[in-house]
């Protein structure tokens, strides 16, 4: 049992939970994740370690209310417990002194990007971050990204905050201006990561992406999270989640993520019927 010590609503349908998990907090590294099973009959869902504090022994998870499991998780209150939290899973992001690192993040991807940007900066890199959301109300972790970066650009799809446009527009400009870039880290929805990878490829800019395939165990035991990287099958949970964006078979990833769409809809409908919308604010 793992106690929730604090809970915040960061945006419409985005919740932050700080959970007492001293052993994981002592070991966490940027880019790693945990698998959470809220109660006895819950699914196991992967969530990134968005922050951690070895001293207080807590980890921070930030998640979007996507379907039944995340909606249910958003109903857990401070002082209540979560049945299972296992981690830290996955290979940590390779943090080195590259020079200039551009961190591009969209939507909930910022929960994953924040610790990576911070670690890159701590390793002595110049970190240029470009973050975005569809709307101002969905933008999370702006202040945290600000302090994790040497330079921050903010975009919204509808112009409600920062610059009107997409994160990739800003990246285009940086490349166009001839800024020296040694590494790009792109984390967000698949179309965004794919778009960024397509843009950086012709410039030979190494691009790291973080894949979110469907998982169960997270220990390399089931192969459900398999993705094709440069023609080879890899397991996202143990070989990733970071991969070279230029090598990913994106079509396959998109297809595999849809494997259970009917079940997901059904579960969500049942959840709504039971809880009358429950956590709410998800549309």
């Amino acid at each position: 049992m793992y106690e929730v010590v604090s809970k915040k609503r960061l945006a419409d349908s985005v919740t932050l939970l700080e959970i007492q998990c001293p052993a994981i907090a002592a070991k966490a590294k940027a880019g790693q994740f945990v698998i959470v099973r809220q109660k006895e009959n819950s699914e196991r869902i992967p969530l990134t370690l968005s922050d951690w504090d070895a001293e207080s022994g807590t980890i921070t998870l930030i998640f979007q209310h996507a379907g039944r499991s995340t909606h249910e998780l958003a109903l857990v209150e401070e002082g209540e417990t979560i049945r299972d939290v296992v981690g830290p899973l996955g290979r940590p992001t390779e943090i080195e002194k590259y020079g200039t690192v551009v961190c591009v993040g969209g939507g909930i991807g910022l929960a994953v990007l924040r610790p990576i940007a911070r670690a890159m900066k701590e390793a002595g890199n110049t970190v240029i971050s470009i973050i975005g959301a569809r709307d101002k109300s969905l933008l999370i972790l702006k202040d945290e990204m600000h302090s994790a970066s040497s330079e921050l650009h903010v975009t919204t799809d509808n112009g409600s905050y920062g610059r009107h446009g997409l994160v990739s527009d800003v990246l285009d400009e940086l490349i166009g201006e001839g800024r020296a870039i040694d590494l790009v880290v792109a984390i967000g929805p698949v179309p965004m990561m794919r778009g960024i990878s397509d843009k950086t490829r012709p410039h030979g800019l190494k691009t790291v992406v973080s894949l979110d395939s469907i998982m169960i165990d997270g220990t390399g035991m089931c192969g459900g999270c398999r993705v094709t990287i440069g023609g080879e099958t890899k397991f996202t949970c143990v070989d990733g989640p970071d991969f070279d964006g230029h090598m990913v078979d994106w079509d396959e990833l998109v297809t595999r993520k849809k494997m259970y769409s009917e079940h997901e809809k059904e579960c969500m409908a049942l959840f709504r019927a039971e809880c009358g919308g429950g956590a709410g604010g998800d549309e």
Binding site: A23, E43, T228
Partner: protein
């Protein structure tokens, strides 16, 4: 000599018609009368040939004699001297290749149904004995100072056995398990209808009652490394991480939706209880036509689960012939009775998907058997021009598993074979790192529950010796291992 001629007592089972519609246990177990009748067939051979067929060396004639005398509780205690998981072994041991194969009656008729009797006694104890199969904690002597601390990695049969044994030998034992429930393959792989989870939980509770602590959600190599365990007060480590890494065929289309590894399919169904979806929200997709590739126990389990999840047609696709099928005969028969079809001498060569990326067909090629290969079985050879298309909407790949890589990847000092098996001294289970032992599928590759338990037991005694020598205590103080599980 009517004793020898009498046939073995048949096992009552759910009818094939009934059972393919539920996940309840197929074999129903002997009644008291049946058990006693079967026990009376035993010749009580002086040389006990059957014992040599049991990797944990249960005194088989002795426990059978106790059954014949209707001393069931004593029979259970006799078994538990060397086997902490009798209700499990009685159900899933391949007895026909072990204890029952060497029973003298096997040559003259039908061997004693040792496994069924073992199961009977364990179940009887659980429902009739005052302490319901657990050691009586209240009357046991106060714990003595522990001799040493041991970390056990993995809670499958190897880990649980090593842990129980070490605890009885006087050590403080913590089992670290990566998943949320203990049991290894017993929890995530073998289906409910062969091993009800209440029985698994009961036997795990028994191991805990011996003083073993189990920490779930603890993935060694990530949460703690072996070196960290050793420098944080553990005198020794036993690695029983199993062979959980699924093997794929690496043929075109294998990552299409609807194609599962057996591990994923069975984990969804058993560990995550997808058969109770949507009460348990983890889904599994079982279409109308399911093909299971492979013919071992794992394949039979996946095929029989598919039937129970509502598939119209379930086929086993296997590249060799019936004689080479590695599954237990009993499981093959069960599968056949339930309606599983067998496409033998057939191998998939590619998968074909629809426009949504879901598998809808599988191209296969027919095989014929050629010269024997390394495994001594005749090698299947593709027959040119025999390709054909099989319509399928779910595929389960059950062609094998190799050892779990997480521990070995985090510990470069741990010597392993090319295929990832941990290299050990066969007698003791000692690895290349002093104080670190290993056993079970992590060493041998996918094998059996009882061989994993045997390895766990042997390693436990070697670890006990290692710790005693390390602490300079005399090993004469060690309680006799044979009596160990009963000692408390």
């Amino acid at each position: 000599m009517s004793k020898e001629i009498r046939a073995r007592e048949p096992m009552p089972r759910q009818s094939a018609e009934e059972r393919r519609g539920n996940f309840d246990e197929v074999a129903l177990g002997y009644s008291k009368e049946q058990a006693v009748r079967e026990a009376q067939r035993c010749l009580q051979c002086k040389k006990k040939p059957c014992v040599s067929g049991c990797p944990v060396e249960i005194d088989i004639p002795e426990f059978i004699r106790l059954i014949a005398e209707e001393k069931f509780e004593e029979a259970a205690k006799e078994i538990k001297k060397t086997n902490a998981l009798p209700a499990i072994c009685g159900r899933v041991c391949p007895q026909e290749e072990q204890c029952e194969q060497v029973c003298v009656l096997a040559k003259r008729g039908q061997p004693i149904a040792i496994g069924r009797l073992e199961r009977f006694v364990a179940d009887w104890e659980a429902t009739h004995s005052a302490n319901a199969g657990l050691c009586d904690v209240t009357t046991s002597p106060p714990p003595k100072a522990k001799l040493g601390r041991v970390a056990v990695v993995g809670s499958g049969p190897a880990g649980l056995t090593a842990a129980g044994e070490l605890s009885c030998l006087g050590h403080e034992v913590t089992v670290f398990e990566a998943l949320h429930d203990p049991g290894g393959v017993l929890a995530y792989g073998i289906p409910e209808f062969r091993l009800p989870r209440t029985i698994l939980h009961r036997e795990i509770e028994y191991v805990k009652s011996l003083g073993v602590k189990i920490e779930t959600n603890a993935i060694i190599g990530k949460l703690y490394t072996l070196q960290e365990l050793l420098s944080n007060g553990y005198d020794a480590i036993f690695i029983g991480t199993g062979a959980g890494l699924p093997v794929f065929m690496n043929i075109p289309g294998e990552n299409l939706n609807g194609i599962y590894s057996a591990n994923e399919f069975l984990t969804r169904v058993n560990l995550m209880k997808a058969y109770k979806y949507p009460e348990y929200p983890t889904p599994v997709r079982v279409g109308r036509k399911v093909a299971v590739v492979g013919a071992g126990n794992v394949a039979m389990d996946a095929a029989r689960c598919s039937l129970r999840l509502g598939a119209d047609e379930v086929s086993i696709v296997y590249r060799r012939s019936r004689n080479e099928m590695p599954a237990r005969e009993e499981e093959i028969e069960n599968a056949e009775e339930e309606g599983v079809k067998f496409h033998l001498l057939t191998a998939p060569i590619r998968f074909i998907g629809d426009d949504q990326g879901f598998v809808n067909a599988m191209e296969c090629i027919r095989m014929e058997l050629g010269e024997p290969d390394d495994s001594g079985r005749r090698r299947p050879v593709p027959m040119a021009g025999s390709e054909f298309i099989m319509e399928v909407d779910t595929v389960v790949v059950a062609i094998g598993q190799s050892p779990n890589p997480v521990v070995r990847q985090s510990e470069p000092g741990l010597a392993t074979t090319k295929w990832g098996g941990i290299i050990v001294d066969e007698e003791t289970g000692a690895t290349s790192i002093p104080g670190v032992y290993a056993g079970g599928d992590a060493v041998t590759g996918a094998a059996t529950v009882i061989t994993a338990m045997g390895a766990g037991r042997r390693a436990a005694h070697a670890i006990d010796k290692y710790i005693r020598e390390k602490h300079g205590a005399s090993s004469a103080a060690s309680p006799d291992g044979e009596e160990c599980l009963l000692q408390r």
